[in-house]
């Protein structure tokens, strides 16, 4: 029995050790970002560094289908916003400027030097625009994945007022939700650098509501792109807003295209 039990225990223990080492290596780390620490996942090597961002309540794991693919050809960073998931709360008000400031401090603390390719999903779009407006020389390219547009939100507020209401809980916390209108104003006022850009719009409708808002959503993207003629518009009919989950390869290709465009510009 000893000849069976002990080798088996040794083999399984070795397997456990390998799994634990892999888990420890892949685990996101908390990085100092001024007064608070942000949970960041840094994967891959190379330049430029691709930064993934979205709205605060979503965690960095939302990028799990995109980030590993992109990390094969670039260094990638995803993170949790201050006060959500694994990131400590930061100074208030939690508007786009504060979010961007914390992100940049964390990037510096993690020794991740520019240039950056900014990838913003949903409300991460406005945040990345504010980043590009605040630090234009550090940005090498931008990819917007079904981003939230301020014109669309203004229309939605009029068409469906309850959507614009901010609950007392969010107001009391002065969190990102409470500051979303401020953040969108900041995004509108941001001047973006002339860098390669791509915008992906998911047009697949899955219910009555999305069928109703889709023309406006698409129109808002087209209107914004009209002011940035060098940006590429990718429209997919295979995904709705969940492009990151349904078509991660499309996002990866868009990022690849932006990096290639940046490299050819440099040449």
């Amino acid at each position: 029995m000893k000849r069976f039990a002990y080798p088996m225990a040794a083999a399984l223990s070795s397997l456990a050790l390998v799994l634990a080492v892999q888990a420890a290596r892949a685990m996101p780390r908390q990085v100092q970002a001024g007064k608070n620490r942000l949970r960041m996942s840094i994967v891959g090597e190379g330049s430029p560094t691709v930064i993934f961002d979205t709205f605060g309540p979503a965690n960095l794991e939302i990028w799990n289908r995109v980030q590993p693919a992109v990390s094969r050809f670039a260094r990638t960073v995803s993170y949790d916003h201050g006060g959500y998931w694994g990131s400590e709360p930061g100074p208030k008000p939690r508007d786009a400027r504060q979010i961007v400031r914390e992100l940049r401090e964390a990037l510096m603390a993690a020794n991740l030097q520019p240039p950056y390719v900014l990838v913003g999903y949903s409300f991460g779009g406005p945040y990345m625009r504010v980043f590009a407006g605040m630090y234009p020389v550090e940005v090498a390219g931008m990819v917007f994945v079904d981003p939230t547009q301020e014109d669309f939100m203004v229309w939605l507020e009029k068409a469906f007022p309850p959507f614009a209401e901010i609950s007392n809980r969010h107001m009391a916390a002065q969190d990102e939700v409470a500051n979303r209108w401020v953040s969108m104003d900041l995004a509108r006022d941001s001047r973006l650098p002339e860098v390669p850009m791509a915008l992906i719009t998911g047009t697949k409708c899955h219910d009555q509501l999305t069928r109703w808002v889709m023309p406006r959503w698409l129109a808002a993207h087209k209107d914004w792109l009209a002011t940035h003629p060098h940006a590429r518009h990718i429209i997919t009919t295979n995904s709705g807003h969940n492009i990151l989950l349904n078509e991660p390869e499309l996002v990866m290709q868009a990022i690849q295209g932006v990096i290639a465009g940046r490299n050819s510009n440099q040449e």
Binding site: K2, A5, A9, A24
Partner: protein, 563 residues
């Protein structure tokens, strides 16, 4: 002894002197911490939650100290100590004194908890109605335990029914329950009049319980035969119709399993059935539920078997569930069977018990959901599932999670075998203490996180600790494997278990761990760190070292040696 009252008090004290000394010390410690370290700051919220959990645990212990029963032929879950019937004391007083001591203890303990733990945190408890409730609940508890000797399942049924009734009435005194759950259930009346009626009813319960106990104890004392009447008669007649076992057992293993199954197999299913009845019947009668309430109740139905398995597992681990003794019963000790056969019979009985429980829970949940549930919540869950997992994967994951729930229940049911079968009281009670502390901690965290949005149990505060998880889990897995290899090898060498038995159990363990690992792999395919941690957890959930050590401790207990 100077008087019967003093003799009864002395007996209660002597039997539970250790617990009765430790309990006030624990309360004083909690009170001291609440007055000093926890009084203010971010931990104050946790202190309140912990205080509620400690109060609940203290009440359970007090009910345990003062139930004043003694094992009859079938063990500890017995009835009033019949040897006291020989005392020259009227039956009315024999019933009265333990009730008076118990009710006094419960009331004083509640007020002491309030003064020691809640007042320093500026969260004083209501006094009158909870005291009345606890006191009447305690007298009912004693009356049920004393009045039906040798009828353990009837006692369990009545205790469940009583707990259901008390829990339901308790809701009328909680403003958030009146505005929330009771309003959801369609209650629109005046809570004040209901409260008054309930207070009168419960004030009358104590004397009624005493009167009933007196009559029943008098019958037992004077040997008046208990007539089988009413519902009990129907149950007994039905039982006569059930097929009785007449043929010989195919093997000693089959006989052992049958014995174990008959003795302990039905406890978990019955307890879960009670909880399901408490959950399903009121919510079904109360009319349409919201999607959120439906999901909440479904979640509770899934958690209940696991939680109850953790509690019942403490008793299941003993050689005899119903006995307060940890020694091997003579009936088992004399049988010419190996330790492996006995431990495997226990493991098998636990598996059957868990399968029956989960089968019953599944059927009840489906029927209840179809009859009373709202599909909104489950639709939202399915829609979320569709986003993350394609068709077949979704259902496979659901099936694996169900299997995981069953496995976890089984794990908790048999987790104390090594300590329970050892006969070593210190080890057994220490392991129970650890389980109780974990349950209290979970309960406190649950109350705390539900009560307060802004608390330190946030991922960002815990993350530095989470980063240690790979090392901790890896260490636990290696320790488990090393212990298992040592224990099973030693048990095999000593002839406690055959080579095929060991290989079979190892194969079953690998299969169970692989199923859990598959669930983790499907659930988190793109999050390697979380997936790997869950794979390590998958190796920890199915028991491997515990049953091996149980073989050794059981043998030592049986032969009178030290484990």
């Amino acid at each position: 002894m100077r008087s019967p009252a003093f003799a009864i008090a002395w007996e209660i004290w002597w039997r539970h002197r250790a617990g009765m000394t430790l309990l006030p010390c624990g309360l004083l410690l909690c009170g001291f911490l609440n007055r000093t370290a926890f009084r203010q700051g971010e931990w104050a919220g946790f202190a309140v939650a912990l205080s509620y959990a400690v109060l609940a645990m203290a009440m359970i212990l007090t009910f345990g100290f003062f139930h004043f029963t003694e094992g009859q032929r079938k063990g500890g879950f017995g009835s009033y100590p019949q040897r006291l019937f020989r005392m020259p004391v009227p039956t009315a007083w024999l019933a009265a004194w333990p009730m008076i001591y118990g009710t006094a203890a419960v009331g004083v303990l509640y007020l002491a908890c309030d003064w020691l733990m809640f007042v320093p945190l500026d969260r004083p408890l209501p006094k009158l109605w909870p005291c009345l409730y606890l006191v009447s609940g305690f007298t009912l508890y004693q009356a049920i335990l004393w009045s039906f000797p040798e009828r353990r399942y009837l006692k369990l049924f009545l205790l469940t029914l009583g707990a259901m009734f008390i829990a339901f009435c308790w809701m009328f005194f909680l403003p958030h329950m009146i505005e929330g759950t009771l309003a959801d259930w369609g209650y629109e009346g005046s809570p004040k009049s209901v409260q008054r009626g309930l207070l009168v009813f419960f004030a009358a319960t104590g004397p009624a319980a005493w009167g009933f106990s007196w009559l029943r104890l008098r019958g037992q004392r004077h040997g008046i035969a208990e007539g089988v009447r009413g519902g009990a008669a129907v149950i007994e007649r039905l039982a006569e119709w059930l097929p009785a076992r007449t043929e010989r057992f195919a093997s000693p293993d089959a006989a052992l399993f049958w014995h174990e199954w008959r003795q302990t197999g039905f406890i978990l299913p019955l307890a879960v059935a009670g909880v399901l009845a408490m959950t399903c019947i009121p919510s079904w009668l109360s009319g349409p539920l919201t999607g959120q309430t439906t999901m909440g109740l479904l979640t509770w139905m899934v958690i209940a078997p696991v939680l109850l398995a953790a509690i019942i597992g403490r008793g299941f681990a003993k050689p005899d569930f119903w006995s307060p003794q940890l020694g091997v019963p003579a009936f088992i000790a004399r049988r010419p069977v190996s330790a492996g056969q006995i431990v495997f019979a226990k493991l098998k009985a636990a598996l059957c018990s868990v399968s029956l429980t989960w089968g019953m829970t599944g059927i009840t949940a489906v029927v209840w959901f179809a009859a009373a549930g709202d599909f909104g919540g489950i639709d939202a869950l399915l829609a979320q599932g569709k986003i993350y997992y394609p068709g077949g994967q979704r259902w496979l994951l659901a099936g694996l999670l169900l299997a995981g729930g069953m496995m976890l229940s089984w794990r908790f049911l048999v987790s104390g075998l090594a300590a329970g079968l050892s006969g070593a009281k210190g080890w057994f009670y220490a392991s129970n203490g650890i389980t109780a502390a974990i349950l209290v901690g979970i309960l406190a965290c649950f109350i705390w996180t539900g009560d307060n949005d802004d608390h330190p149990i946030r991922l960002y505060n815990l993350w530095p600790w989470v980063e240690w998880l790979p090392a901790i889990l890896c260490g636990l897995v290696i320790a488990k494997l090393a212990t298992a290899a040592w224990a099973w090898s030693r048990a095999h060498e000593a002839g406690m278990v055959g080579g095929r038995g060991v290989a079979g159990y190892f194969a079953a363990w690998i299969l169970a761990a692989a199923l859990l690992a598959l669930a983790a792999g499907i659930a988190f395919p793109n999050t390697p760190w979380l997936r790997n941690l869950l794979w390590l957890c998958a190796a920890l959930v199915p028991p491997l070292a515990g049953p091996g050590v149980a073989l050794i401790t059981w043998s030592a207990n049986r032969t009178g040696g030290s484990p």
